[in-house]
Symmetry: C2
Subunit: 337 residues, 2 copies
DNA sequence: TAAATAGGGACAAACGATTGTTTGATTTGT
DNA sequence: ACAAATCAAACAATCGTTTGTCCCTATTTA
């Protein structure tokens, strides 16, 4: 029969000293003599003593746990972000509790509630597609739980955030297509949410300006990101008398659906029509006709930077609100295949 | 200034009753009168009282948290498993702490240590490729933390496990190829670890027996799962005078590398050479020449079944060891594309 | 009518660790 | 040599909740 796990109390009893002495000895407190310190540490090691984390969490009112909310784990993109968060958290001896919103704002709220109840020390979140109010996040202020938004960041003031700007590399991408001789570059955009920055579109327009090419509004179409939505969008594009010769796709998912549909219509990819996309999935390398270029958004780094920012907030004793809102913007990169 | 979160104590003070009464009232204990019960519950609701989980965890010596160790999160396969685990855990009001071993046994041990220190109530694990001893898992017995292995299950006695048998669908897959006229069916196997069941190979052989086709040992090659390893393996196969006309690939990763290599060698996929694989990635539908069939292993269900088994163990008061080891085997399914 | 019973709460200990305050013993200074 | 300073360790409160036990007061029973 295994004895239950040893506590500070038992160490104290065995050495006939008080628990506070043991506690301080284990923490190398100056007011404990060298002799006792050694004795305690030796015995603790022998007994395989390990501090009871739940007791410490309770006493300190901290859980040493971060909450991480993501739309899903399926996409390679987010799993990389997780690794970034976990590695950073590990360095600080923190745990990470992960929740998937599945892009539903209700689940997002739910997860947040659960995390709050479990008293996570801080929250990292990449918001769901449905999220168009951050009231549920602002609530956490009342509980002194800092929130850092990353990757999918709501476009509102007074938040802490880390994201990867797509503006410049979108300009780069579109310009790249222009240089290749394309004049009709279409853009398949995602659903318009008031809360997400629209840097892709801004970059798309700016690239046209710089090259003095007029933006053809009809070349900007929208998909709800479903396969059917994307097919409708591309179908519309292909129906024009002067078809676009290049397409900027909202993400790799849209790109794949686009490519598949175009192929079905007997178009040669990267000949009749070129595709540029965001996210840079490793898997696209297995395609016969992958996008000609992709915008890499460095999810791992976003995750780790966001986590570091969160720790900075956690370690700041300043009274609420006196800490300036920090918004870290990373640069994306155009990768030409 | 926001007041700190309300406690049972404050409720007691406001109503001039004792904390124990409040506690029992909130739990609907029979020895508390209806009047007081109502009063307490009303006030608690008004004050937005929420039990302090960390205090409860401490008092009860339980964390209501499960540890989940996976090789990685990148593969869709494992993310589905996570969802299975999370959904099951959520039903029981449990949280899930996730760790990625990255297929390194040292990290696996590390994660396990961390989880033990954080006193998770139970552990679910799909072992790393390197794991060839489960000593580190057996240690958890001393701490009364039950372990359920799932998906990648060590081939040893006296464990609780949930896995998906590949035996019958491998027979089915190979037989399917035979029926299609193939006589030279190769098998690219993964690294041989003593601890993982080898049902693919057994099924491969059994299928030959049943169709009275001799197994050609040279058609069984091994890859370390890296791109290069797989290329070496397939190169070897293609070098034979009588080339195989079909290949059974260890998993989708191997299948993709195989297909890519074969294409490079100007072979027509599913004409010159057919590929059957395991795992059934959704992404393969974007390929021009996907595997002709796949074995689906139902990771979500494995995850949820494993979690349910774990809860069964957690809720069993029987003294250690008197609970019989349970091994749940699900059936895989051959999906023809 | 006195005693037994039940109902409704209060009291207090406990979980394991941390930390402010005290106490006692030894050393230092003058 | 005696007060003061220093050191080492004990004491005790505390975090929020749960739970075993005890107590008081009505109500019921013989």
């Amino acid at each position: 029969m295994e004895h239950k796990v040893p506590t500070i109390k038992e160490i104290a009893k065995k050495l006939n000293i008080s628990v506070s002495t043991v506690s301080r000895a284990l923490h190398d407190h100056p007011s404990i003599g060298l002799r006792t310190k050694m004795q305690v540490q030796k015995l603790a090691a022998e007994m395989n003593y390990e501090p009871n984390q739940t007791a410490i969490q309770f006493k300190q009112g901290k859980t040493f746990t971060l909450g991480l909310i993501l739309p899903n784990l399926r996409e390679e993109y987010f799993s990389s972000a997780i690794s970034g968060v976990e590695d950073a958290a590990f360095k600080h001896n923190y745990n990470v509790l992960i929740g998937q919103s599945h892009d539903l704002v209700d689940r997002e709220r739910n997860i947040l509630e659960t995390m709050r109840k479990h008293r996570v020390d801080g929250v990292l979140v990449s918001i769901s597609k449905q999220t168009n109010s951050i009231a549920h996040f602002e609530q956490l202020d009342k509980y002194n739980i800092p929130v850092v938004f990353f990757d999918r960041v709501p476009d509102v003031p007074n938040i802490h955030s880390v994201w990867c700007s797509l503006y410049y590399s979108t300009i780069e991408a579109v310009t790249f297509l222009f240089k290749k001789g394309h004049r009709q570059v279409a853009y398949i955009q995602g659903p318009q949410s008031l809360n997400i920055k629209n840097e892709r579109l801004e970059g798309y327009i700016e690239a046209h300006k710089r090259e003095k090419i007029a933006v053809n509004e009809s070349l900007i179409v929208t998909t709800d990101l479903s396969k059917e939505g994307t097919e409708d969008a591309i179908e519309k594009l292909l129906s024009f008398k002067t078809r676009p010769t290049a397409i900027l796709a909202f993400n790799d998912h849209v790109a794949l659906d686009t490519i598949q549909y175009a192929k079905m219509k007997k178009l040669k990819i990267n000949k009749d029509i070129s595709v540029v996309s965001y996210a840079n999935w490793p898997i696209t390398s297995y395609l016969d006709s992958p996008p000609i270029a992709s915008v890499e958004q460095f999810p791992y780094e976003q995750g780790s930077r966001a986590t570091e920012l969160l720790f900075k907030l956690l370690n700041t004793k300043l009274p609420e609100g006196s800490f300036p809102y920090e918004n870290i913007v990373l640069k994306s990169e155009l990768v030409i295949h």
